[in-house]
């Protein structure tokens, strides 16, 4: 799995950091998405799909 994020689109809802904290974090000052792992381990994949689906701004893209 490959994950990409676009902090310029991000509206800092925090859904990704809440849903998949091993893969996504939030910038301390701006609250926008910080990608911790572009090729996350398989045990996180379900939560990554859920985070991408939940993202209100469409700032996360995932490729199998």
């Amino acid at each position: 799995m490959e994950v990409e994020v676009d902090p310029r689109r991000c509206c800092a809802s925090g859904m990704c950091a809440l849903t998949a904290p091993a893969v996504f974090d939030q910038d301390e000052a701006a609250g926008t998405v910080v990608l911790l792992s572009a090729r996350p381990p398989s045990e996180t994949w379900d939560s990554v799909w859920e985070a991408a689906d939940s993202c209100p701004a469409g700032a996360i893209s995932v490729k199998d």
């Binding site: 509206c11 800092a12 974090d25 939030q26 701004a57």
Partner: protein, 398 residues
């Protein structure tokens, strides 16, 4: 002579305290985008399916700008053209105007910051539960628990003295009423602005370590912007969560099997909060957007300028998205519900609301395991007369 059939008004009649008007579900099945008449004579649309609402909320061709809005319900302001949003009132703006203000706040509401706030929220909750017990053997849960907890928290975060809550709770409630008179609404707005204006002046003279103090210290915002941003955060921060705490407790107390599951397994709390958000959908009259251009939605032509009322209730009870959607099930995954909205306007304070609800519901039933209603459910006064649904009072005993 034939007359064009007139469009219906927004369905609002509930048959019980928890379910949306039955017409919402019927429309979702037969006509998920249907014509809707507004009190000012505008004819727009009512949207009731999950997929469409989610798509519209993420589509920048549908605007949040205040001057394009029509109100779907009778209200003192419903027949008057709306002015553009006042500076700082960013929920009624689009694009860069909106994100300029939102970006000044997003760092304050991150998951990590809200997590760090948990011990302080727990202190407030414990204090409220002490006061509830002292008021017993029975008491109103709204007065002693549901309203004070989010009020205390947002006051501390913003830097608003809680002792002066008399100056904002009543005015805020009046602004949420659908039947307030026009003069009362303007008086409440003026009183809130005066209150926040005094705070801004004080914080500019003597900087404080809180959100409003931080905004004042940037030096980038006018007094009017600061007052309006404070207004928005103060009202949004306590009205919404207060109603979720009150109505959510009412729902659990009237669904004993779900309450038993919740009490038996503390690990259910995160999911239970999401399910209560989904099932209760307290933004009962939906979100409104206006089309900036002609748009085709599943074969329906939406014309530029037409307003769409997006039924959050309809979306959250859509069986295409949630199996057995009309049932409350605290052990399901309600992921994807639209109670905080969707798109770039999605609720800024949602992670704070989650912390307050998780700790709030858990602490309440841990401290009062025998909590029960003190009146029959039909006698609990519900907020059908308010923009945000909930209960006016919740008489309980333990």
């Amino acid at each position: 002579m034939t007359q064009a059939p007139s469009a219906p008004r927004l369905p609002v009649e509930r048959t019980n305290p928890f379910d949306p008007p039955s017409r919402i579900g019927e429309l979702r099945e037969t006509e998920p985008i249907s014509r809707l008449a507004f009190p000012d004579g505008h004819v727009g649309w009512l949207v009731t399916s999950y997929a469409l609402i989610r798509r519209i909320l993420a589509d920048q061709r549908f605007s949040s700008r205040q001057e394009l809005r029509h109100f779907p319900l009778e209200h003192p302001m419903a027949r008057e053209p709306q002015p553009p949003a006042a500076p700082g009132m960013f929920i009624r703006m689009d694009g860069e105007d909106h994100s300029h203000y939102r970006r000044l706040l997003t760092g304050q509401f991150t998951v990590r910051r809200m997590k760090a706030l948990e011990p302080r929220v727990q202190e407030f909750i414990d204090g409220c539960l002490d006061a509830l017990e002292a008021a017993g053997p029975g008491a109103d849960l709204v007065e002693h628990f549901a309203l004070p907890i989010p009020s205390l928290v947002i006051c501390e975060l913003l830097g608003v003295p809680y002792a002066e809550r008399g100056r904002f709770q009543q005015n805020s409630k009046l602004l949420m009423r659908l039947d307030s008179g026009g003069a009362d609404v303007w008086a409440a707005v003026a009183a809130m602005r005066e209150f926040l204006g005094e705070l801004v002046t004080a914080k500019k003279a003597e900087p404080t370590d809180d959100i409003l103090g931080g905004l004042c210290a940037t030096g980038e915002l006018s007094d009017e912007e600061l007052v309006n941003m404070g207004f928005l955060l103060l009202v949004a921060g306590h009205e919404t969560t207060a109603n979720m705490l009150g109505l959510g407790t009412f729902a659990l107390l009237t669904h004993p099997e779900e309450l038993a599951k919740f009490k038996a397994d503390p690990g259910l709390v995160d999911g239970a909060v999401e399910e209560l958000l989904r099932w209760l959908s307290i933004i009962q009259y939906g979100a409104t957007r206006a089309a900036l251009e002609d748009v085709d939605l599943d074969g329906v032509r939406i014309s530029e300028g037409e307003c769409l009322v997006l039924s959050v209730q309809g979306a959250n009870r859509d069986p295409e998205r949630f199996a057995d959607a009309d049932s409350l099930d605290v052990s399901r995954s309600a992921q994807g519900h639209l109670s905080f909205g969707h798109g770039v306007h999605q609720c800024l304070g949602q992670q704070l609301a989650r912390v307050e609800m998780r700790l709030g519901y858990s602490s309440l039933f841990r401290r009062f395991p025998g909590l029960r209603l003190a009146v029959p459910p039909a006698e609990v006064p519900t907020r059908t007369d308010m923009v945000i649904y909930g209960v006016h009072e919740l008489p309980v005993e333990w």
